[in-house]
Symmetry: C2
């Protein structure tokens, strides 16, 4: 019975080449990242999934604080009248919010929604707190969950509740808010590339795709293993739109009343979906060492033999003291199960150690990304583990970058675009005239949405890929999650 | 105008001897700990308030993890049918939950509530996850906010949304769940006494006061400056009650089906109310150094003089490197304002430094708790600051302990109890027969509820203070927040 279960764990993952969607679901389930409950469309973040989010949070939070941002916590609810204050914003979110109508046995006088995002709450707060130019800038962020009443849901990618951070800032000038919007996009891009080992395209969203109420939305776009795009974080410049709707004004140095300029920016648990779909393989999850909650798993072999477990714990202690996140798998399971389980859960580096290794004064290190093994003297273990983790981090990024490059194409006709999306999959760079109508037609015809107008522009052609009129922008197009 | 505002900041605090409730509200507002919004009864945790909660969280989370607990995140919603599975539990919570009835434009088939607590969600999860004795224990915790539809609210003490952690564990035996309940109560007590400098009484709640659905509830009770009690954390032993209601069973080593035994335990943002009301004084907040987000504030005097700010930043850097949480108040304000502001916000230690100090190679250290000043050579600064912070932590605890002892009384008649509560204020230790009726009568007559049956029992008398029948327990009684 036990042996059957152990085998099943490994066998039950669908190959990603056979059915990518099923492979994804299998990994999420087998690595115990998240689970469903009787609350339709809402996830449970299981300990392994939560630990990844926590590692992301710790890293990003430090980066935010380095730019002067402070954390706070806004209420979970928004009264309907407050949500309605900015017209584009309410239009964008009202169709997908959850409405609370009763408190205990009483009907509420005004219904309130569970926050889908908190611009309106921060605006109301800033309107009360900001009086003088001395009160600016306001640089606040909160880590919380938000609710959007989605019809169809998928673990991490789309769910009725998801976890995120939302930064909200208020500045004296339009220039400052523009700078902050770019600065935070760069924080996200740097984090995703350096720590999640995922290369991204930085650019601006089109008018059609921008955030409800924003003047401009910046985005980082990543490419999944199956050639579909995933929006990985966004940063919005609101100009003074919200400030006018909410009356957020300050007295400047010349004693004149001015509106503030605002931004907001967010990254969510969706990014865990990106980690799975960029790095994962048929053995399961593959976590980049920088944010892996467990970087090294020590797997004792023949652990009932005297001295094996002792040595394993000794190495664990030593590696911990060297600053690594380490665990020992001392469960009463056979080594084959432990190795496969460790790979399934994406632990970057595995240390195998049995009686003969101990006799010879060495252990075997196995890389999760390449399955390469090497024998390392105990005395060199911490040093070599550190080198290997950095190599893994580097190689995972390079591999993902290679995949991105191999799956980024250019097209000068709509048929060519469709053909690429069907057969090769990936991003298609193509010229665009700037009209919403062409953007919609391109999506209708090919299923690809405009992912972004990249900051790094190229001239592929002089005319729009759809209407043939003069092109104003080169756009990344892609089918997306 | 500016000078007026600066003066106001200090003047506007009501004296705690004149109106304790108003003093409390003033401190919360002036120290910018929390604020209200148009969301009735819900708090905004402002940066200064959130930072205290974050420091509490970091400290407690480390303590939890040392006992093997892992974090996760459960959904924000509970379907009505799930909430109803355990009858005592639903009876306790249904009257005070917020009901979501609509998602977007659609009416939900079954209404769902915003979690008031998550026992039911954890139970459902454990029912799915636990099969064998090998799957036990389950030791999970989540940090989140919960919603209870309160009629009257006060910052930190009672609000419709509050932040907390809720730990939920499942064990093989009744003995193990009892042990875990006690273990977590001890974790709370140790944290509150050692790090928050608040002495507590440990004990068990009466049947009347225990958690809805629990077999036993343990509590730590603290005494505020005005002589009222505040329940500071609770730990519940559920026995197998929830397991039977939710069908959480496992196969034991003899292949027999058994129910698990469960616990839950929580501490909330209420504890910030305790910090304010135990330690605060007429100058404002007074934070214990161990959890003060800023332990040391450097206040430059005549900062426009050459070299003053440079020296302040140099000291800040040095103190940071020595491991302290330090800030420099370089705002364009007069020193008097900065000193008062620093006291208002409860920063344990202030460093005053002006041109003459720099000339003489020293700075002035000022303790928040006693206002004592001392001149310290720059070369000794870090060492002395460390000593002073530990002294402050120690003295704050001793002062609070003295207050607790001076306000803990014994009574052998109900008139005596009432007289103590009216005139001296504090805890009254008195004997009780164990009947719910007497407990209710005592509350009706004196306004004091049973705070706990302390683990450390004394025999004050042989008969119940109310009915005169033989007493079974000595109980702490008190008027409470």
């Amino acid at each position: 019975m036990a042996a059957d279960n152990e085998k099943k764990l490994v066998e039950e993952i669908t190959s990603m080449d056979v059915d990518f969607a099923q492979w994804y679901t299998d990994v999420v389930k087998k690595a115990e990242l998240c689970d469903y409950s009787s609350v339709k469309g809402c996830m449970i973040l299981e300990p392994a999934g939560f630990a990844i989010w926590d590692a992301i949070k710790e890293n990003l939070d430090r980066r935010f604080k380095e730019t002067g941002v402070e954390n706070c916590a806004m209420p979970i609810f928004i009264p309907e009248s407050l949500l309605q204050k900015e017209s584009d914003h309410v239009e964008g979110f009202a169709p997908e919010v959850a409405w609370v109508t009763h408190g205990g046995y009483d009907k509420l006088q005004e219904r309130i929604c569970v926050r889908p995002t908190s611009e309106t709450l921060f605006c109301e707060y800033y309107a009360r707190k900001v009086h003088s130019y001395r009160d600016l800038p306001k640089l606040l962020n909160q880590w919380c969950s938000v609710v959007r009443w989605e019809k169809t849901t998928r673990p991490f990618l789309r769910s009725r509740e998801f976890w995120w951070q939302e930064g909200h800032t208020a500045h004296a000038t339009a220039e400052e808010s523009r700078e902050r919007t770019e600065q935070m996009l760069n924080v996200y891009a740097d984090f995703v590339e350096k720590d999640l080992a995922i290369p991204v395209i930085k650019g601006q969203k089109t008018e059609k795709e921008k955030f409800a109420g924003a003047e401009a939305t910046y985005t980082i776009e990543a490419l999944m293993h199956d050639g579909q795009a995933l929006q990985s974080a966004t940063s919005h410049d609101f100009g003074d739109g919200f400030a006018r709707a909410f009356g957020i004004q300050y007295t400047d140095k010349d004693n004149k009343l001015q509106y503030v300029h605002q931004t907001s920016w967010g990254m969510s648990t969706r990014i865990i979906g990106a980690i799975i779909m960029v790095h994962g393989d048929n053995e399961g999850l593959k976590l980049p060492p920088h944010i892996a909650p467990t970087q090294i798993m020590i797997c004792p072999v023949m652990q009932k033999k005297e001295g094996v477990l002792d040595k394993a714990y000794e190495l664990e202690k030593e590696l911990k003291e060297a600053g690594f996140r380490v665990k020992t798998d001392a469960r009463d399971k056979n080594p084959g199960f432990k190795f496969a389980d460790c790979e399934m859960r994406g632990i970057p580096l595995r240390v195998e150690i049995g009686p003969r290794d101990i006799e010879n004064g060495h252990a075997v290190l196995v890389r999760r990304d390449t399955h390469e093994k090497e024998t390392v003297e105990f005395t060199d273990l911490a040093k070599r583990a550190g080198e290997l983790l950095e190599t893994i981090q580097h190689d995972m990024y390079e591999k993902a970058k290679q995949h991105l490059e191999n799956h980024t194409f250019t097209a000068t006709s709509i048929d060519e675009m469709e053909d690429i999306l069907d057969k090769k999959t990936g991003f298609v760079k193509a010229m665009w005239c700037g009209s919403k109508k062409c953007e919609e037609k391109i999506k209708d015809k090919t299923g690809a949405s405009s992912r972004c107008i990249p900051f790094e522009q190229e001239c592929i052609d002089d005319k729009c890929i759809y209407c043939g009129k003069p092109a104003t922008k080169m756009v990344y197009w892609g089918r997306a999650y």
